[in-house]
């Protein structure tokens, strides 16, 4: 039995955050799940094509499930920006 943590993540009865696609356990809800995801940072234009011609400093930061590779979250960031860490207390 799980409930939603975000659009792409679930949380089970023990408070463990899971990938909603493959149910890979990432961490407990007290921890920052993004620290347990695969992270990629790439310049926006390289990722999205010529309509995304923006400052070279602008990065598309993406978080993937380390098990199935599903895209779990995306952020626009400058290099060194902290992760946007959301918490759900239920």
């Amino acid at each position: 039995m799980t409930s939603k943590f975000s659009a792409t993540l679930s949380i089970d009865q023990n408070g463990t955050i899971l990938c909603s696609d493959c149910e890979k356990q990432l961490c407990s809800r007290e921890e920052i799940w993004k620290n347990y995801a695969i992270v990629s940072e790439q310049p926006m234009e390289r990722t999205c094509g010529s309509t995304y011609t923006v400052s070279k400093d602008v990065l598309l930061r993406q978080f993937y499930c380390p098990e199935c590779g599903s895209l779990l979250d995306s952020e626009i960031a400058l290099s060194g920006d902290p992760f946007l860490n959301d918490t759900v207390r239920g």
Binding site: N35, V39, T47, C48, G49, G69, S70, L71
Partner: protein
């Protein structure tokens, strides 16, 4: 109270606002009001609290409440039947000087029972730059006429000394006079219909119904908040002005029946007019809150009570006088809109019951381009290119965003036909269409923005000028949700065909893309520019954010997008992992490509490598 009577009065209040909006539009002659729907009408209680929020730009609903309260404080003992007050000071309650509030007390048998308030973006307000958005202004003093409150109509009589003084300070006074007339008429209709309602049901019954309506909204909103999960959600908006970068940071905390929006960490206020005042940020966060959390709850004071805001003084979201704010509505306020939309949608996404209501950001960055100069009839024209109200819908949890599908803060916005704009200004459109690859990729694609180019046509002075206060060119502002990509940023180009022709480049008679227009293409975003001779202005506006993983998008939907010209083959393959040929999915290659892209994801990054 009898529930049927309560329901009838509630619906009558809706209709009063609707009828007042219709009046406003019928009397106003400007495209920004009639086509762009840059307007708002709402009803307020006798103490100035919001009673019935109307449609139009929703960030005005709470600001106009503050305007009513300010008038009540400052005109105590001098508020009479038939009066109408004007207020447009951003440091009192308004959003920027060109959005003028006209506020009318509503009396019944001599007793103040309610207020109606409305705004339109007037043709001009006498700022340094025509049209109200004033990129050359570095303080409030150069942003045009600004009043913390004055009596424009005294017991039913327009004060000509006041009106003439205002009209003496603005460009196109005849159009500003029409704007003012439209708002006076709007308030008169609201007052008349409200008085009829009270005549029919008695002051006591209507007052009771209004009080109940606010209590009902508060109760329903608190119940909804209690149903949603507790937690903290974050968002971050960047925007650029003349090489400088500003950010709006938001931490939204929800616990039980309370919700707090904390903008600590946002940039210090700017020397440019992208700042906004505290009341503007307050209104800005409600613009997505009303439709996303209260779509079935009456928008009034009851919704406002459980909400708190922290906005650091001296920041772009709570600027201190005399910081310039003329571009607030498309600057910091819009960033506040976007950030609040993201946080609210993340909270909705964490709810099993409400996750389907979540949405990526719609139309994250307005482009406010005001044309000004002599038109084809030999008179002066000032006005906005209304395409900015066309917008682009963000993808939602339940489906794609609508192409050129508007924006969250203004549910009734739209853009004018090409012919309307060509009749208003001495210009010709070379093309106007949806912009390929502008919708943020995702399981559900963000709606596309669009692109167009204009060139002078039949211009007595050989052309026209324009004011542009664009941002969102260096940073996408339509954030995606649930992994969805952001919508593409905006792009503004001055195409210098005059120079090209002088150096022998052949003219293209009917160019239908930016690539076909000859001439150097100079990126612009801020200031005043000429559009003369054969030069062109090209605008590509931002798309809506995407929702979810683009590798999970239905392959046939990607093929349809490619066939319809809104997604390129390059992005179909690179981002969606779908190979399309002649409008059809090549399944074998698609399966191979999607597996390869998933594998690359697992290989490309490492946990905690940043």
């Amino acid at each position: 109270m009898d529930p049927i009577t309560f329901s009838i009065i509630r619906h009558r209040l809706f209709r009063i606002v609707d009828e007042a909006v219709i009046t406003l539009k019928h009397v106003s002659g400007s495209a920004i009001t009639n086509e762009g729907h840059d307007l708002m009408v709402s009803l307020y209680r006798a103490d100035g609290s919001l009673l019935m929020g109307g449609v139009g730009f929703l960030h005005h609903l709470t600001s106009a409440a503050e305007a009513c309260k300010s008038i009540i404080r400052n005109f105590s003992g001098n508020i009479n039947e038939g009066d109408i007050f004007l207020l447009n000071c951003p440091y009192t309650a308004a959003l920027h000087t060109s959005d003028i509030y006209l506020i009318a007390p509503i009396h019944h048998n001599g007793v103040l029972v309610a207020w109606s308030a409305c705004f339109v973006h007037v043709y001009d307000i006498g700022a340094m730059n025509p049209g109200g958005f004033s990129p050359d202004s570095n303080d409030i003093f150069t942003e045009g006429f600004s009043s913390p409150g004055l009596k424009l109509v005294d017991k039913g009589e327009i004060r000509k000394d006041i009106m003439n003084t205002i009209l003496n300070m603005v460009r196109s006074p005849e159009m500003v006079a029409l704007d003012m007339s439209s708002m006076i008429a709007c308030n008169n209709v609201a007052k008349d219909r409200m008085q009829s309602l009270i005549d029919k049901y008695t002051p006591k019954v209507v007052d009771k119904a209004c009080s109940l309506l606010i209590s009902q909204s508060e109760k329903l909103f608190k119940e909804r908040l209690a149903e949603l999960p507790d937690g903290c959600w974050h968002s971050r908006q960047y925007f650029d002005v003349k090489g400088q970068t500003f950010k709006v940071l938001l931490k939204m905390s929800k616990e039980g029946e309370k919700i707090v929006f904390d903008f600590s960490g946002s940039s210090a206020q700017s020397q440019y007019g992208i700042n906004c005042s505290r009341w503007a940020s307050w209104g800005g966060l409600f613009a997505p809150l009303f439709p996303l959390l209260c779509y079935d709850i009456t928008w009034n004071e009851g919704v406002i009570r459980p909400v708190k805001m922290i906005a650091p003084e001296g920041s772009v979201v709570n600027a201190t006088r005399p910081a310039p704010v003329s571009i607030a509505t498309v600057g910091a306020i819009q960033a506040v809109n976007n950030a609040a939309c993201v946080c609210i949608s993340k909270m909705l996404s964490a709810s099993d019951k409400y996750s389907k209501e979540a949405t990526a950001v719609w139309h994250g960055s307005h482009f406010a381009i005001f044309m000004f100069g002599k038109n084809q009839r030999g008179t002066q024209s000032i006005g906005i290119l209304t395409e900015t109200f066309g917008g682009a819908a963000g993808a939602r949890a339940i489906g794609d965003g609508v192409d050129v599908g508007g924006e969250v803060p203004n549910p009734i916005s739209r853009m004018a036909n090409v012919e309307t704009m060509e009749a208003t200004f001495p210009i010709r459109y070379l093309f106007r269409r949806r912009l390929k690859d502008s919708g943020g990729p995702g399981l559900h694609r963000g709606g596309t923005g669009a692109e167009f180019a204009i060139t002078p046509h039949d211009a007595p002075d050989g052309g026209i000028n324009y004011v542009i206060s664009g941002k969102g060119t260096e940073y996408p502002m339509s954030d995606g949700l649930g992994g969805g990509y952001p919508g593409a940023p905006s792009n503004y180009l001055w195409v210098k065909t005059n120079e090209a022709l002088e150096s022998g480049v052949p003219l293209v008679a009917y160019p239908n893309s930016i690539e076909q227009i000859p001439g150097k293409k100079e990126k612009i975003s801020w200031g005043v520019f000429p559009l003369v001779g054969l030069d062109s202005l090209y605008v590509g506006w931002n798309g809506g954010g995407g929702y979810g993983d683009p590798l999970s998008r239905d392959c046939d939907s990607v093929a349809r997008d490619v066939k319809n010209g809104v997604v390129s083959n390059v992005i179909a393959e690179k981002v969606y992992g779908v190979v399309v040929d002649n409008g059809k999915v090549i399944h074998k290659e698609t399966n191979f490509l999607r597996k390869k892209l998933k594998r690359e994801r697992l290989e490309m990054g490492k946990i905690n490598d940043i």
